[in-house]
């Protein structure tokens, strides 16, 4: 029995990756949920908007790097982030002006807007591949590790190591800051309150003089910021590839729906639920169990519930279960 080593192994392979992945999902799901709550449709273009935002950040990062601008131990991408958000925001507003506004004025059914967003998704998809290509892009620089596996082993003398990458730490800190700022904005500012009012009851909001176009504009800007940040963090932590970002759509929607569509708190909770179930169900528990259990009970098998190939099946399964038994999600959202 060696609980300390068990804890370290658990943190290294489950807790830390789960927290980072959960934060990235939460940020993405927040965007999905905001669009659903305020604009009232499921935005299928979300994953590719994220790819677009990340692409702009990457291009600006490369430009900064060529100019010799660096952030020391932190990745240069953080510096490029505001510019990326601005460009993505402009593109989102443009898309809204050219595409979505037409259908909104016609009061089209949500399902038509969903199909429209599917079209936007394919166009974004093409633009991103056209500009940066379909391959992997690595744009992380600065210090790779906060604590590397080797330093940890030297510091503690334990056989198990806990590595914490800079990108993981940045992901957590940024996610907390962004979520705090978002909630402050929604709950404390006039614009935020008008957004919530618009989401709760569109007609009442219009009667009390809230300008719907302004609400829509602010929503798109916030969504642009959220997607760009989520995409950049994911890209820093893992790597950027347009197809992967498109695939993230499923866990995003799963997280938003599990938490309750239209409910920001739910989106965050949903993000972590999905992330931790994906990680824990596909993790091989043998190592942790060998440390934690008495020697006589040490397992021979890998103690892996599902092979890692089925990662997406987990989020899909959770999505189905929640839709079956609690269509409004864990935190009262809108039923789908």
């Amino acid at each position: 029995m060696d609980l300390l080593n068990a804890l370290v192994a658990l943190s290294n392979f489950v807790l830390v990756p789960g927290l980072a992945y959960g934060s990235q999902l939460a940020l993405g799901a927040l965007g999905v949920t905001l669009v659903y709550g305020i604009l009232r449709f499921s935005n299928f273009a979300h994953g590719d908007t994220m790819a677009f935002g990340t692409m702009t950040v990457i291009l600006i990062t490369w430009w900064f790097q060529s100019l010799g601008i660096h952030l020391g131990p932190l990745p240069t991408a953080l510096l490029a982030l505001p510019f990326g958000i601005a460009i993505t925001g402009a593109v989102m507003l443009g898309t809204d002006r050219v595409v979505y506004r037409f259908y909104r004025r016609k009061k089209s059914d949500p399902v038509i807007l969903v199909m429209v967003s599917l079209g936007v998704m394919f166009i974004m998809n093409g633009i991103v591949r056209f500009i940066i290509g379909p391959e992997d892009q690595n744009f992380a620089d600065g210090e790779r590790f906060l604590i590397s596996a080797r330093t940890f082993r030297e510091m503690t003398g334990l056989p198990e190591a806990l590595a914490i990458r800079t990108s993981t730490a940045i992901t957590l800190v940024t996610a907390i800051l962004v979520v705090a700022a978002l909630f402050w904005f929604l709950n404390r500012t006039r614009t935020g309150k008008s957004m919530r009012a618009f989401s709760d009851n569109e007609d009442l909001a219009l009667l009390s003089g809230i300008n719907p176009e302004r609400v829509v504009m602010v929503t798109w800007l916030i969504v642009a910021a959220l997607t760009t940040i989520a995409g950049t963090l994911y890209g820093l932590d893992k790597s950027f590839k347009p197809f992967t970002y498109f695939q993230l759509l499923l866990p995003f929607f799963a997280a938003a729906i599990v938490g309750g569509l239209g409910n920001p708190v739910g989106a965050i909770a949903g993000g972590f639920v999905i992330a931790f179930s994906e990680v824990t169900i596909t993790y091989a528990w043998k190592k942790v169990a060998t440390y934690a259990l008495p020697e006589s009970m040490a397992p021979d098998s890998l103690m892996q519930l599902l092979s890692t190939d089925y990662k997406f099946a987990v989020s899909f399964g959770i999505l189905l279960i929640v839709l079956l038994f609690k269509p409004t999600g864990l935190f009262q959202g809108k039923s789908v």
Binding site: F13, L302, M303, D309
Partner: protein, 398 residues
């Protein structure tokens, strides 16, 4: 207008018949490769290698006292067995080829062998089909390959690990025929030598994050992680994840993973990691490159030397048997390829033909150091490499 067309067509026919008449002694060899499909970027260079050997023989006056060799290309598509069978059928029935240099990919090669080559008694020498399944396929002695079976690499890997005293490894492989075949043949060979594979798990290419896969491999444990993947794909992703989480520090890298991209990506981080890929230090490879200069193809492309050797072997075997019929010369191929005899390198085909005429033995070494074993497949030469100071260094050739 119509009459003019008819007239010109008729005269063209007469002309070609006359031309054929003047070359009364001619033998055609089919070059059956996937000129379209997943291998289309390397097949022109493979065909170039095979046709270079034929041009060399023709320049020396042909085989069998003046029989000129002509190449006829056919498209195997690499993936479509029906299309490859049709192409091979066309080569044999309408072009009248005496032998086939090909196919390229294992699946279509097996189909052509069973459906076309065996019924027609045509010899096939494939330069690039590496599937272990072809070693045991029914072939009536008609099928040979100048490429080693993937099973051979598995054995070489087990040998390397044995020499390094490593007893327990975890394996991750890219989820396709190559990765699975290599992982399976390696596991069989390694366990036969008493080694232990703690876990053999697939990884999908093109994912952003391999933390979950690495977590499972780390839980299984092992001294070394064998990464049977692709360098520009999941293989590197798994290595990155394993290094970051401190799960593994030493890796074994089969052919799909050895390349300069690895030096750029990991450098000194994977010092001490080792692996192997097909390669030879024989003089043949260098003289093949010299020979192919200005011939319009890239001789260093994978399987281009093997294609040259495949074509050369067939022509020399025809010379030795004194016949261009498959049933006559199939038994000569092993004799030509293996010792004893005088060693023959690329550019020495004229000398080889002369030696055979004198009734002397030859040992065809060629561009890829051909040594046929078992049911007529290359024993394979591998270069064992190791990472030192962030660079790939050669340990030895085996």
């Amino acid at each position: 207008m119509k009459k003019l067309l008819l007239a010109s067509a008729a005269s063209a026919l007469v002309a070609s018949a006359a031309l054929a008449g003047s070359h009364s002694k001619e033998v055609k060899i089919g070059v059956l490769l996937g000129f379209t499909g997943p291998l289309e970027s390397i097949t022109p260079h493979m065909a170039g290698g095979a046709e270079l050997a034929m041009a060399e023989v023709n320049a020396a006056g042909g085989i069998l006292d003046g029989t000129m060799v002509t190449a006829v290309r056919g498209d195997s598509t690499c993936v479509d067995a029906a299309a490859a069978t049709a192409a091979a059928e066309r080569l044999i029935t309408s072009e009248g080829v005496a032998a086939l240099m090909g196919g390229d990919c294992s699946g279509v090669t097996g189909a052509v062998l069973q459906n076309v080559a065996r019924p027609n008694g045509i010899v096939m020498v494939s330069p690039s089909a590496t599937s272990p399944a072809l070693s045991t396929a029914e072939d009536d002695g008609l099928f040979f390959r100048t490429a080693p079976s993937d099973a051979r690499q598995g054995v070489v890997m087990a040998e390397i690990l044995g020499e390094r005293g490593i007893k327990s490894v975890a394996v991750t492989y890219t989820n396709n025929d190559y990765g699975k075949g290599l992982a399976d043949s390696f596991q069989a060979a390694f366990e036969a030598t008493g080694g232990k594979v703690t876990l053999s798990a697939a990884h999908e290419d093109g994912k952003a994050d391999y933390a979950a896969e690495v977590g499972a491999l780390a839980a299984a444990g092992g001294d070394v992680l064998v990464v049977a993947g692709y360098i520009d794909q999941g293989g590197s992703g798994v290595i990155r994840g394993a290094l970051d989480s401190g799960a593994f520090t030493t890796f074994m890298l089969p052919d799909g993973m050895v390349g300069t991209g690895l030096e750029e990506r990991f450098g000194k981080e994977i010092d001490g990691s080792f692996g192997q890929h097909p390669g030879t230090d024989s003089n043949g490879a260098a003289s093949f490159v010299d020979l192919a200069k200005d011939k319009g193809f890239e001789p260093t492309t994978a399987f281009s030397p093997e294609a040259y050797d495949a074509a050369a072997l067939m022509m020399l075997a025809m010379q030795a048997a004194g016949s261009t019929k498959g049933v006559d010369f199939k038994d000569k191929i092993m004799d030509i390829a293996n010792a004893p005899g005088e060693q023959i390198f690329p550019g020495e085909l004229a000398k080889a033909i002369a030696l055979i005429k004198e009734g002397k033995d030859i040992d065809y070494v060629g561009a890829s150091a051909v040594e046929l074993v078992g049911a007529g497949e290359s024993a394979g030469n591998y270069r064992e490499i190791e990472f030192k100071d962030g660079k790939i260094t050669t340990v030895k050739y085996r």
